[in-house]
Chain length 435, copies 2
């Protein structure tokens, strides 16, 4: 006898799943699937495909994982699909050294690294981990032709990157047209009810819908999640831009980084990297708006919660306490000194603002490029000279976004806009913004 699973009311499930989503194609299909699932007691099958590279996950990566978790929390089946087949194909021409084919062992090692991080979000016991070589590795040439026969070229060329490359006379190899079809075939093999992806995956998820129909299956729902904007509040969170929070970073570093978020930016973080219900988030926002909650406190609770998710509740509390202890004697953050470095054609201008006083000058010795922190501190007037700043750094008196920086030669990238929360000496905090 199978137990008839109990699900929450469909409306409640829908509201939770809709939270933070960029697009659900189509929401009425998702409702219908949830209805059926509730009636039959059969969980939905939710697919998330990833490349088996060995990633160092940051919060940006967790957005789709968290949506998968939400489905899992509601009792549905989370399928973590490792795309090992194409990884083992590598660059099929064999001409690129940057995409060498991976061996079975490499794929397994990468998947292990990946999963160790993933299980900080998903439940280890309830996740169905699959490898697409299981079915794609068995495809014959005949099967491939059959698969390709189910999709039209004109449709494929509607995909944004194909369209723009074709228009720009940039090469597209024919095998690239096969990958969306193989990804779609994964949905057939998995009989997925819903596929998750970032917004940039939308086209591929829709191909899955069509190919499933062609293979006589009901079409999956495509649920896309937006890109998480990084700490700078401007661009996609990414390691190379330096505007990220890694999920294995130390609690204190995570806390400092998250506290550097602007007040407005914390709301998308509530939506995309927490498990709060939409009602809870709305209630918090209302409190802040009415003045009954301080944005700083709400942001601290956000940081504490995120850290608790990756390091446990105790670590969250400890990081918050530490942060508060250091800040106890500081100026209120609204009054924190802010230094804005403006990148101009003739160099960099420095504008200092502290409370209502402001001043500005050109820093002729600074250039738009990589500059030493020590040099920068001297130029903005936080040290009497670069060598004094170096001494200060060596002695442990310098922190960036909550992380101690002890190398006196360490650099800051002035090439791109960014925002840093910096401690100089024991208690002096300031914000350095590169514009």
């Amino acid at each position: 006898m199978t137990t008839h699973k109990q699900f929450k009311p469909v409306d409640e499930q829908l509201a939770y799943l809709r939270k933070g989503a960029a697009e659900i194609i189509r929401e009425e299909d998702l409702r219908a699937k949830l209805d059926t699932s509730a009636k039959t007691g059969k969980p939905l099958r939710i697919k998330l495909g990833v490349d088996p590279t060995a990633p160092d996950l940051h919060l940006g990566h967790t957005v789709v994982l968290r949506k998968l978790k939400h489905f899992q929390d509601l009792g549905h089946t989370a399928i973590f699909l490792v795309g090992d087949f194409t990884a083992m194909v590598g660059d099929p021409t064999g001409q690129s050294e940057t995409r060498p084919p991976l061996t079975r062992e490499q794929v397994d090692a990468n998947a292990k690294t990946y999963l160790e991080q993933v299980y900080k979000i998903l439940s280890r016991e309830n996740t169905e981990v699959r490898y697409n070589s299981e079915w794609l590795g068995k495809l014959t040439g005949h099967d491939m032709i059959r698969l390709c026969a189910h999709y039209r070229l004109a449709r494929m060329l509607e995909r944004e990157d194909f369209r723009s490359r074709l228009a720009g006379n940039l090469p597209i190899s024919i095998h690239e047209l096969l990958y969306p079809l193989l990804q779609a075939y994964d949905s057939v093999a998995l009989e997925s009810d819903v596929e998750l992806g970032a917004t940039e995956q939308k086209f591929n998820l829709l191909v899955g819908r069509e190919i499933q129909r062609e293979y006589g299956q009901p079409s999956q729902v495509a649920l896309t999640m937006p890109i998480l904007v990084g700490l700078d509040g401007q661009r996609k969170m990414s390691k190379s831009l330096g505007n990220y929070v890694g999920i294995t970073e130390a609690p204190s570093a995570m806390f400092g980084k998250l506290m550097s978020l602007s007040d407005e930016m914390m709301w998308p973080y509530f939506d995309l990297v927490t498990d709060h219900t939409p009602e809870e988030v709305a209630a918090l926002a209302a409190k802040v708006k009415s003045g009954s909650a301080h944005p700083m406190d709400v942001k601290m609770s956000l940081a504490r919660e995120i850290i608790a998710g990756f390091h446990g509740a105790e670590a969250g509390e400890k990081a918050a306490a530490e942060f508060q202890r250091i800040f106890r004697d500081r100026e209120a953050p609204e009054e924190m000194k802010e230094i804005v470095l403006k990148r101009l054609p003739m160099g960099i201008s420095v504008r200092s603002k502290s409370g209502s006083t402001a001043s500005s000058h050109m820093a002729d010795g600074l250039s738009v490029g990589l500059e030493k922190w020590s040099k920068l501190l001297a130029y903005v007037g936080e040290a009497s000279s670069a060598s004094e700043a170096e001494r200060l750094i060596k002695q442990g008196g310098f922190e960036v976004n909550g992380s101690l920086v002890k190398d006196p030669t360490s650099k800051v990238d002035l090439n791109q806009p960014n925002s840093y929360q910096v401690r100089v000496g024991k208690k002096k905090f300031l914000r350095i913004v590169v514009e």
Copy 2:
């Protein structure tokens, strides 16, 4: 010890192979390959691929086969490639009833029918018959991706039919892009030096050149042959147009049909469906031009020769003798009565011309469609009435293009231009031209 094969001088080979060819890409490559072959004593590998449909071959089909024979005659290896792989795939969507997948047995039966006819041209002993399922049937999905990675979409879309369908918003399924690549891969598997095809195959043959290079092989030479124009002197020879000479037709029927060719049209036939060297053809043409040979006699020798190829020398002689016996008492062919049926918007006009006398009238009872021969004979004045014409036909007094027509209800297609050589009664010959 292997015998070192002796080949004819390269210039002589080239001249013979060039005969009738539409294009050789590239001729210097072919020369180089012939040079190497002459030096090493190793024959070239010449590929001709065909669909394993069960065809009723006509002279149009023999043009590429004959070029393959020419290579074979020169000592090279003729490869007759049966494209059974895609035939067994059929319409991969399974939605079309017109292209059901063929079974192994059907393919074999079709190939047998095909080969029986082909061996009237090629030497049975020296032909390498291959089936591409031998290697395509073993391709994995991975191999297919690798193959597709070697070719760019933009190049593929240069193919005329893809380009025009894309421009005209007509659907192209993605699997259609795979077929030229599979055909190219056949060249890799066969290590072909030369691939033959009709002019419409040019694109596919060129893909073969590129894919061989990508797989580390020397590129094959692409040799295309023109389309054979049918007996009407206007359109591609085809069974549905009725302007064809089937290679299994009776000798007398073939003779009559071939004699209905216009004098100018016989030269392409010498080029494309005989084994005469270019010098021999040029010498014949010079004789006709100078008046030292009668075009009628040259045409008879052409017909005799073609028939001898398919039915043996004796049958050729017999058909020629019979034709001459019948024509012994006739008017000279230049003076043969000619009836031209002109298809006009308001109906059909009949113009009779015999020597220098001509007359014309509208035939109000005839329409642009299928009409009974008996009715037509009455309208053009060759019988006093349709029923008299029917009686004549039943009694064996009516022949079309050398074939006796005994069914009084048999019809003539006035929808399209055509030319018929007709016998009415015992000795009266006339030409009926539909314009």
